[in-house]
């Protein structure tokens, strides 16, 4: 009998589930139609109100959640983009990368003659969301908080070390062999003589310091608020105190976030949008589907989508300042002998079709290049001409490549050589290694390429340890100065993982970083010369300057180009004009 009761229970359960499921399904479908109607009504309503009242909400997608809203911890595009939207620092980036006044009035900034002291005058009408005024003390606190090694900011050290006074002495590892006691963060070279004057002292002139003033690591912070929030700071909209054009109202992990115009922002009248709604969409096809049904105002295209949509009137191709190149590791244990040969490097650099690389790997209209400081990035301080004047030393030319190859063979005395090619394990990375293998093996006789596809994290480690022979990598600038590119290849430089070394090059770059800091024209030309040397020596084999392809509704204004450095967009200046 006992068994029978169990049996009834199971039966009841199963039937219950059947009914529940059916009713759920039915109700779900009913819901569908209902919500569908409601939604249509809503969208209709919205578009009407768009026309009448101008409720302008920008709807876009992001490929990832925001890793952090704490500006000093931000290390990725998404975090930078949205901390910039919520906060305002000394200066701000306007479209085309123009640096404009933020909390500090740019045209009143005083720079000492030696270029070592910057005095910023702050506007007095700026305030935090809670009504507190934004003062110079907030900047002092923000900068000190950033450089405090206990707070674990990567960018603070990267940007301030050796540049802002005492930064290097404050940011010291505990188990450093040198027994130097680290300085307290309050020793950082920043001060607030009064509420609305902020002074920064530098160790050496930093010609691109303007970019710093617009960078997210250097934002002011409301000390009282930050300390009150403690470990919860910046983890939810409630624990973020905005002083910028927008404030965050909702943030759901991995789903998306909502920003609303901040009415207490000092320049609120010049903020056109009423809000920004961002959805996390990792799949490119899903993003495009949402754009097609009108859920998004703008979408970034990837892979085959680019070609499919190239003829659309809504298609835009935006130039980035990221440049990609082929690296020849001259310190490689296994092939340094080859890599150190100039003809060998030149042969490799000229032997592959850059346009075909772009077609195969990205399928968009990125530009094949023969240089490594991007075009459209920095201009001559006097004439305003672009830094990049072009070069064809390393242009694609199979015949020339073969001549260099023969010369290298003779000098080095080899007939056949096998090189490994380090690449990631994503689809794009595999395309890259396959393309390079085919292209180089076909054009250079006796060369065999072995692809080594490893996960991204491992790839970076291998590069850092210089345990590779060939690899493709790229660089995007953090501040508006060619030095962020030419500094890459100085002897034993932090990021010089190609083992390139040239005294003349080093001298030019050191001059640009040091004694020429106050003579902009000479400095600019020194960096141009440095690039020329590195190209003639085929330190790397330039490939392309990347472009991003997007579809955007025509009513969207102010997002027609990417900023050449820093954040991609400046939402403060975006508008929807229907």
């Amino acid at each position: 009998m006992r068994g029978n009761k169990w049996w009834l229970l199971v039966l009841a359960l199963v039937l219950g589930l059947v009914l529940a499921a059916c009713s759920f399904e039915d109700s779900a479908e009913e819901d569908d139609t209902d919500t569908d109607n409601v939604e249509e009504n809503e969208t209709d309503g919205e578009s009407e109100s768009d026309g009448e009242e101008g409720e302008k909400v920008l709807r876009i997608a992001s490929t990832s959640d925001i890793p952090t809203m704490d500006p000093i911890l931000a290390e990725d595009n998404v975090s930078f983009q949205y901390t910039d939207t919520v906060y305002e620092g000394l200066y701000r980036l306007a479209p085309e990368g123009e640096i404009v006044s933020g909390i500090a009035k740019k045209d009143e900034t005083e720079i000492s003659e030696d270029g070592l002291t910057y005095t910023f005058h702050l506007r007095e009408d700026a305030q935090w969301e809670n009504g507190d005024p934004v003062t110079a003390h907030d900047f002092v606190y923000g900068w000190q908080r950033a450089i405090d090694p206990n707070n674990g900011s990567f960018y603070a050290n990267y940007l301030m070390n050796g540049k802002v006074k005492n930064a290097a002495e404050i940011y010291v590892t505990e188990d450093d062999e040198s027994d130097v006691e680290p300085l307290d963060p309050s020793e950082l070279g920043v001060s607030a003589p009064d509420d609305y004057t902020f002074v920064v002292e530098l160790e050496k002139p930093v010609p691109y310091f303007e970019s710093y003033a617009a960078f997210q690591t250097f934002l002011p912070m409301n000390q009282e608020f930050v300390e009150e929030q403690g470990d919860d700071f910046a983890l939810s909209p409630d624990s973020i105190l905005s002083n910028g054009p927008f404030k965050m109202t909702e943030w759901e992990a991995e789903a998306g976030w909502e920003l609303e115009k901040n009415e207490t922002y000092w320049d609120a009248e010049n903020v056109a949008l009423d809000g920004i709604s961002v959805k996390v969409i990792k799949d490119a096809d899903t993003a495009l589907s949402n754009y097609e049904v009108g859920e998004l105002d703008r979408v970034t295209l990837s892979g085959a989508q680019v070609q499919d949509n190239q003829t659309s009137p809504e298609f835009l191709s935006l130039t980035e300042t990221s440049v990609f190149w082929l690296k020849f590791n001259q310190d490689s244990e296994t092939a340094s002998e080859y890599m150190q040969n100039l003809n060998f490097r030149k042969a490799l650099a000229k032997a592959f079709d850059k346009q075909a690389y772009i077609d195969v790997v990205y399928g968009n209209d990125s530009t094949p290049v023969n240089f490594f400081v991007p075009e459209g990035f920095v201009e001559h301080p006097e004439t305003g001409e672009d830094f990049q004047t072009g070069s064809d030393v390393l242009a694609y030319d199979v015949e020339a490549a073969q001549e260099f190859w023969e010369a290298a063979k003779e000098e080095l005395g080899f007939d056949e050589v096998t090189l490994s090619f380090l690449s990631g394990d994503s689809d794009v990375a595999k395309n890259i290694s396959e393309f390079m293998k085919t292209e180089l093996e076909t054009n250079l006789e006796g060369l065999t390429i072995e692809a080594n596809n490893v996960p991204w994290a491992q790839q970076l480690e291998i590069m850092r340890e210089q345990d590779y022979e060939l690899a493709v990598s790229g660089w995007g600038p953090d501040y508006k100065d060619a030095i962020s590119f030419v500094d890459l290849w100085i002897t034993d430089g932090e990021n010089n993982d190609i083992g390139y070394s040239n005294e003349e090059y080093d001298a030019l770059v050191e001059a640009a970083k040091g004694e020429l800091a106050t003579s902009p024209v000479e400095r600019f030309e020194a960096m141009q010369d440095a690039e020329k040397i590195a190209l003639e020596e085929a330190a790397i084999g330039p490939i392309m300057q990347r472009k991003t392809s997007v579809l955007a509704k025509d009513y969207l204004k102010g997002m027609e180009s990417l900023n050449p450095f820093g954040n991609d967009y400046s939402f403060k200046y975006v508008d929807i004009v229907k």
């Binding site: 169990w6 199971v10 911890l73 290390e75 590892t173 450093d176 096809d285 899903t286």
Partner: protein
Amino acid sequence: MAKYILQRLVYMFITLFVIATATFFLMQLLPGSPFNELGGKMTEAQEQILLEEYGLNDPVPVQYAKYMLGMVQGDLGVSFQYDNRSVTDIILDRIGPSAHLGAQALIIGSILGIILGMIAAIRHNTWVDYSSNVLAVIGISIPSFVFAGLLQYYFAVQWRIFPPSFWEGPIYTVLPTISLLIFPMAICARFMRTEMLEVLGSDYIELARAKGVSNSSIMFKHALRNALIPVITVLGPITVSLMTGTLVIEQIFAVPGIGEQFVRSISVNDYPVIMGTTMLFSVLFILVILIVDLLYGMIDPRIRITGGKD
């Protein structure tokens, strides 16, 4: 019964301990460091500071002891990918949508599957049987993301019946649920059909028929119950994998679920999250196995639960 459950729980903890230990040490073998998202802009010194801060400079056994102690107290550590966000929060935030979709797909899928399987068995060797078979084979062999893509394209983009993605209400769950339920449905249908055929051919069913028991009574009271055993066996593991999210489906429908972290945490060396997701999966899995074992006894008293005499 209580003794049996208690004994199983003890085993469970031992198993979890072994899993945690094995995962912890295996994880140390992952190449790369957790802090290289920056594409190599970080200096050695900075990496040292971070390693120190997250306690990664301690010898591995010390890290292990610290982690296990924390875990016992319910502290799973802090994620490296999302600064300062605790692993517990990440899991709790994300498990909701995954579990919701999984449960929906499982319940609807298994019930449809059981019904389909029963019908196929009853109408053995007719067109009903054949077509249900074809459906089942399609459901098992075509991966769910193919259905997801097709459903999204037709129902969302072409006909605009459902929203293409996001997670904002019941209507948003329809397409992902359908894509997810096809597999459990197909599996259930297959197993149900085979088992039903076997049961229907057995002596006691013959006897019941001979006694003049009504057809529906035979089906539901005698046959279904016995045929359920294998179905429940296969549904156990499927439940766990459905409830913990599916990477591809979640990406296609932009569902903020946990599925992605099972893959991503490993590729970015986010140790605490790797541990967290692994433990989550293990706990659910072991629990489900226990429940399945208990269900066996409920459905078929011949499978005795014998308080640990083995």
